[in-house]
C-alpha cells in the first residue's frame, strides 16, 4: 500500500508503528514485537504457533528442532555438554583467529611472536590464555559428553552412527589440541610433539611408520617444515574435518531426537520423536533463553578463570640439542605416556590405541542389550567404570612421579629449581635470595623466612633421599647465591655424597635469576604484584 493512503486510513502514528514492527519482524525472522513481549511474559503461544516461523525463515534456526520433550530439557539429563562442545569450538575459532594476527609459523619468528604477544599486545595474554583454557576444556567436555552418552545408553539403536561421528569428533578434538601444542615453539611444545610424532614411527611395517613420521614432521626431525605442517593442520585441515563431522553429528541428533530418560519409555522403544503436545517445550523462547543464558554464564566463568587462575605456559625457546628433564605429554595423553612406560612402543603407541579406537566405535554393535536402563546394563556400566579407572591409573603412571626418577641429586635440585617452569625458588624470587653460602650441615638461618623455608626443604629433601637410596650416603648440600651482575644472581647448587664404595661424588648445577623475571604456574592464582610498583629502598 502506498504511504499516503495508509496514513489517511490509519493515522500517522499507527503507520510509523506498523513500519517499525515490520522492520522488527524482519530482524527476528518472523516474530512481531508483540509476540516477543508475550514470550518474555511467559504466555502460551497462540494456535497456530506464531513462534515457529523463524525455524523456516532463518538459516541458523532451521537446523534447530522446533520443540523438545520436556524431560530432555532438564539440565541433569544432558548437562548441555554437546552444546558446550560446539560453543567451545566457536570460542577457539574466534580467539584463534585473533592470535593468528600476531603469529608467523616459522622457527625464527614463532617464539618471539609469542613474547611479543604477551608483552606488547593489549589483552594478548588474555586471548592466549583463553584459547589454551578453551582447548583444554574442550577436550574435557567432549570426553564428558561421551561418558554421559555411554552411561545413559544413548548410543543404542538407532543412534549407532551418531556415536560413530562422535568418536571421530573426539579424536579430531584431541588432534586439534595436540597440533596447537607445537605452535609456541618452546621446549614444552617441541619435546611433547617430538615424542608424539615418534609414536607414529612405530606403525608397522617400518616403511609405513617412517613415511607417516616423515609426512608429519616434514623432515627426520621437527623443524621449519614440521611447524608449518602442524600449523596448517591446526588452523585449516582439522577444523574443516571437525566442521564436517559436527554437522553430520548434529543432523543425526536432530533427526533421531535426544534420547529420553530411559525410565520414560518401554525397553526397546525409541519415542524421542513422538512428543505428546502437553510435553513439548518450544525452542522459542524457552530453550533459546536457556541455552543463551547457559553459554553466557559459561563464558563469564571462563573469563574469570582466565583472568585470575589460568596462565598458558611458555618455556624457553625450542632447543633440539637439549631435552629438558621430565618431558611430559599434554595431560590428556598422560595415559598414552603411561602405557609407553610399561609396554613396547609398537604395542603401547600404535596397537593399543588403535584397538581402543575400534572398540569405542564398535560399542553400539557389541552391546546387543536393548535396554538403556541402568539396572539392566550392569555389565556395561561396570566395564565403563573400570575402563575409566584404568585410564586414570595409566594417566598417573604417565606423570614423572612414576618410574622416571633420575639420580637423587638431580631430583633434589629439579624439585626446588626445575630446568623449565617455576619451582619454589623462582616462586619466592630474586628479592628473597640473600647472597651467601649455605651449607645444609650447619642448618643455616637467615633473616628471610621464605628463604629459610627453601633451605629447610633442601636439607629435608637430601635427608629423604639418603634414607630411600642406598647409593646416596652422607650427603650434604651447599647452596650459594652470588651477585653475577647488576640485578642478576647466580644460584649454585652443589650436592656431595658418598657412593657405596666410599668414593665422594659431587653434583653441580648453576642457575641464573634476574630481578625482573616472572615465572608462573599454569594453574593457580596469577601473580598481580606488578600492579603495585615495588617499594623504594
Amino acid at each position: 500500500m502506498a504511504v499516503q493512503p495508509e496514513i489517511e486510513k490509519k493515522g500517522f502514528v499507527q503507520t510509523v508503528l506498523d513500519a517499525a514492527d515490520d522492520v522488527f519482524t524482519r530482524i527476528t525472522a518472523g516474530i512481531p514485537a508483540g509476540e516477543v513481549r508475550r514470550m518474555l511474559r511467559g504466555e502460551a503461544p497462540g494456535r497456530p504457533n506464531p513462534r515457529l516461523k523463524p525455524h523456516s525463515e532463518a538459516f541458523l534456526l532451521h537446523i534447530k528442532p522446533t520443540y523438545y520433550h520436556d524431560s530432555v530439557t532438564k539440565f541433569t539429563h544432558t548437562f548441555r555438554l554437546g552444546l558446550l562442545s560446539t560453543y567451545l569450538f566457536f570460542v577457539e575459532t574466534i580467539t584463534g583467529l585473533i592470535l593468528m594476527i600476531w603469529y608467523a609459523p616459522t622457527p625464527e619468528r614463532a617464539y618471539t611472536d609469542m613474547i611479543r604477544l604477551l608483552s606488547n599486545v593489549p589483552f594478548g595474554q588474555l586471548m592466549r590464555d583463553l584459547h589454551r583454557l578453551g582447548a583444554e576444556m574442550m577436550v574435557l567436555i567432549v570426553t564428558a559428553h561421551m561418558v554421559r552418552t555411554y552411561l545413559t545408553g544413548s548410543y543404542k539403536a538407532p543412534r549407532q552412527f551418531t556415536w560413530f561421528t562422535g568418536v571421530i569428533l573426539l579424536v579430531v578434538t584431541l588432534f586439534l589440541s595436540f597440533s596447537g601444542y607445537l605452535l609456541p615453539w618452546d621446549q614444552l611444545a617441541f619435546w611433547a610433539v617430538t615424542i608424539g610424532t615418534s609414536m607414529a614411527e612405530a606403525v608397522p611395517p617400518k616403511v609405513v611408520g617412517e613415511t607417516v613420521n616423515l609426512l608429519a614432521r616434514g623432515a627426520p626431525d621437527i623443524g621449519a617444515n614440521g611447524l608449518m605442517r602442524f600449523y596448517l593442520l591446526h588452523v585449516l585441515f582439522l577444523p574443516l574435518v571437525l566442521f564436517l563431522f559436527f554437522f553430520v553429528h548434529y543432523y543425526k541428533v536432530v533427526h533421531f531426537g535426544i534420547s529420553l530418560p530411559s525410565d520414560e519409555e518401554e525397553v526397546g522403544q525409541d519415542t524421542a520423536n513422538k512428543v505428546p503436545a502437553d510435553r513439548r517445550v518450544y525452542f522459542l523462547p524457552d530453550v533459546m533463553i536457556d541455552e543463551a543464558t547457559f553459554l553466557i554464564g559459561f563464558t563469564a566463568v571462563m573469563v574469570v578463570i582466565t583472568a585470575f587462575f589460568f596462565s598458558a605456559p611458555l618455556e624457553s625457546i625450542a632447543n633440539p640439542q637439549s631435552t629438558p628433564l621430565h618431558t611430559v605429554a599434554p595431560w590428556y595423553f598422560y595415559w598414552l605416556q603411561g602405557l609407553l612406560k610399561i609396554a613396547d612402543k609398537m604395542i603401547a603407541g600404535v596397537i593399543l590405541p588403535g584397538v581402543l579406537l575400534v572398540l569405542l566405535i564398535a560399542i553400539p554393535y557389541l552391546d546387543r542389550n536393548p535396554s538403556r536402563r541402568g539396572r539392566d546394563r550392569r555389565v556395561a556400566i561396570i566395564s565403563g567404570v573400570v575402563a575409566g579407572i584404568v585410564m586414570i591409573i595409566l594417566s598417573w603412571m604417565g606423570t614423572p612421579y612414576y618410574a622416571v626418577q633420575g639420580a637423587p641429586a638431580v631430583e633434589i635440585v629439579q624439585e626446588l629449581m626445575p630446568e623449565e617452569g617455576m619451582g619454589p625458588v623462582r616462586e619466592i624470587g630474586y628479592q628473597h635470595l640473600p647472597l651467601g653460602v649455605y651449607d645444609t650441615r650447619e642448618h643455616p638461618e637467615t633473616e628471610d623466612e621464605e628463604f629459610n623455608h627453601i633451605l629447610h626443604e633442601f636439607a629435608a629433601s637430601i635427608a629423604a633421599f639418603e634414607e630411600k637410596d642406598p647409593t646416596f650416603n652422607n650427603a650434604y648440600g651447599i647452596l650459594s647465591v652470588t651477585q653475577e651482575q647488576p640485578s642478576l644472581k647466580r644460584i649454585t647448587w652443589e650436592i656431595f655424597w658418598l657412593s657405596p664404595d666410599g668414593k665422594e661424588d659431587r653434583y653441580l648445577r648453576t642457575f641464573f635469576l634476574h630481578e625482573d623475571s616472572l615465572y608462573w604456574e599454569q594453574y593457580g592464582l596469577k601473580d598481580f604484584s606488578f600492579v603495585r610498583p615495588p617499594a623504594e629502598e
Partner: protein, 302 residues
C-alpha cells in the same frame, strides 16, 4: 513427587534466566575493565620479564662458552682476551675503533661474526664466530641473549675508575685509545702488573693477575688422539709426554722453551703464533721455573 536436591538447576522462569545472563555479562565487563586498567603495567612487567630471562639465558651461555677467555667476571685475561666488564669498553671502545653504530650492535656483531684478524692484536686467539650464520654454534636468539648479558654489566662498569674499583682495561694494540683524560692529557692505561717473583704457579696459570694459560690449556683432560684441546693442548698427561716431544730436549727444557719461545716447536695440528710470545718478559725466571715444575708434577695441586 519429591524434588531432588539438585532441582535448583531446573530454572523455568525465562525472566530469572535473562536476569542471570545479564548478571554474567556485567561480571565479564567488570573483569575486563579491571584487566584493562592494569593492562599497561602488565605489558611493562612482561617486557621486563622477557628481557630478564634473556639475560639469564645469556649468563648460561657465557658460563658455558666465554668465561675461559674473558674471565669469570668478564674482566678479561691478560694476553688472552680483553675485558668486557670495563668502563673503557662501555664508554670508549667503539669510538677508538671508529664504530659508528651502537655498542649493542658492536657487541652483537662481534659475537656473531667474531674478530677473525690477527693484525696488530696482543690477544692469543682470534675471537671465534659464534653465530650459526657464520659457521658457529649459536642461534640468533642465543647471540641476542648473550649480547644482553654482556651489556648488563653496564651499571657496574660505569662505576669503575676508583682505586677500590679499578677499570680492568688493558690497552688494545689494534686501536690505541684516543680518549682524553679530564685534564686534557692522554689517558693512563692501567700499568701491567710487573713480575715480582712472588706469584704462585696456580696464580700464573689461571689467577686474575696471571698469564691466562687456563683460557686455552685444560689441566683436567689428557692430550690424546680422542681428547685434543681445541686451541692449545690439554695438560693432564703432560708429565708423561713432555720428554718425548722434541728429540734431545728433556721434559723441563721442552716446557720451558714452549713458554718462552712458543713458536720454536708447534705440535702437529696447532698453529704457530697463537700462544703469546712475551711470557719471558712478563714473568721472572724463578716464576717460569716454578711454573714448569708445577706443570710437570704428576700430583699437581690446584
Amino acid at each position: 513427587m519429591k524434588r531432588p536436591w539438585y532441582s535448583f538447576l531446573y530454572v523455568r522462569s525465562p525472566l530469572v534466566k535473562i536476569g542471570l545472563g545479564i548478571l554474567a555479562v556485567l561480571v565479564m565487563i567488570a573483569v575486563l575493565l579491571i584487566l584493562g586498567i592494569i593492562e599497561e603495567r602488565r605489558m611493562e612487567a612482561q617486557t621486563a620479564n622477557w628481557d630478564g630471562r634473556g639475560v639469564e639465558k645469556g649468563a648460561e651461555l657465557y658460563a658455558n662458552n666465554c668465561y675461559t677467555c674473558h674471565g669469570i667476571d668478564g674482566k678479561g685475561l691478560p694476553g688472552v682476551a680483553p675485558a668486557l666488564h670495563s668502563k673503557y669498553f662501555f664508554t670508549q671502545r667503539i669510538h677508538d675503533v671508529g664504530w659508528t653504530g651502537s655498542l649493542h650492535d658492536y657487541v652483537k656483531l662481534t659475537i656473531a661474526a667474531g674478530r677473525p684478524s690477527k693484525v696488530n692484536t696482543q690477544w692469543a686467539q682470534i675471537m671465534p664466530t659464534w653465530s650459526n650464520r657464520y659457521g658457529g654454534p649459536m642461534r640468533d636468539d642465543q647471540v641476542e641473549n648473550l649480547t644482553a648479558f654482556v651489556l648488563n654489566w653496564e651499571e657496574d662498569a660505569l662505576a669503575q675508575g676508583t682505586p677500590d674499583n679499578p677499570d680492568p682495561w688493558q690497552p688494545f694494540a689494534d686501536a690505541p685509545s684516543k680518549a682524553v683524560a679530564d685534564d686534557g692529557s692522554a689517558p693512563v692505561a692501567e700499568a701491567p702488573v710487573e713480575p715480582t717473583g712472588s706469584r704462585t704457579p696456580q696464580e700464573l696459570f689461571g689467577g686474575a693477575n696471571g698469564m691466562g694459560c687456563a683460557g686455552c690449556h685444560n689441566l683436567d683432560l689428557p692430550q690424546t688422539a680422542d681428547s685434543r684441546g681445541p686451541v692449545g693442548p690439554n695438560m693432564a698427561n703432560l708429565h708423561e709426554t713432555a720428554g718425548t716431544m722434541v728429540p734431545g730436549e728433556d721434559a723441563e727444557t721442552y716446557v720451558h722453551n714452549s713458554i718462552v719461545a712458543p713458536n720454536a716447536y708447534v705440535h702437529e695440528g696447532y698453529m704457530a703464533g697463537i700462544m703469546p710470545q712475551n711470557f719471558a718478559e712478563r714473568m721472572s725466571e724463578e716464576e717460569i721455573n716454578a711454573l714448569v715444575a708445577w706443570l710437570l708434577d704428576p700430583n699437581r695441586q690446584r
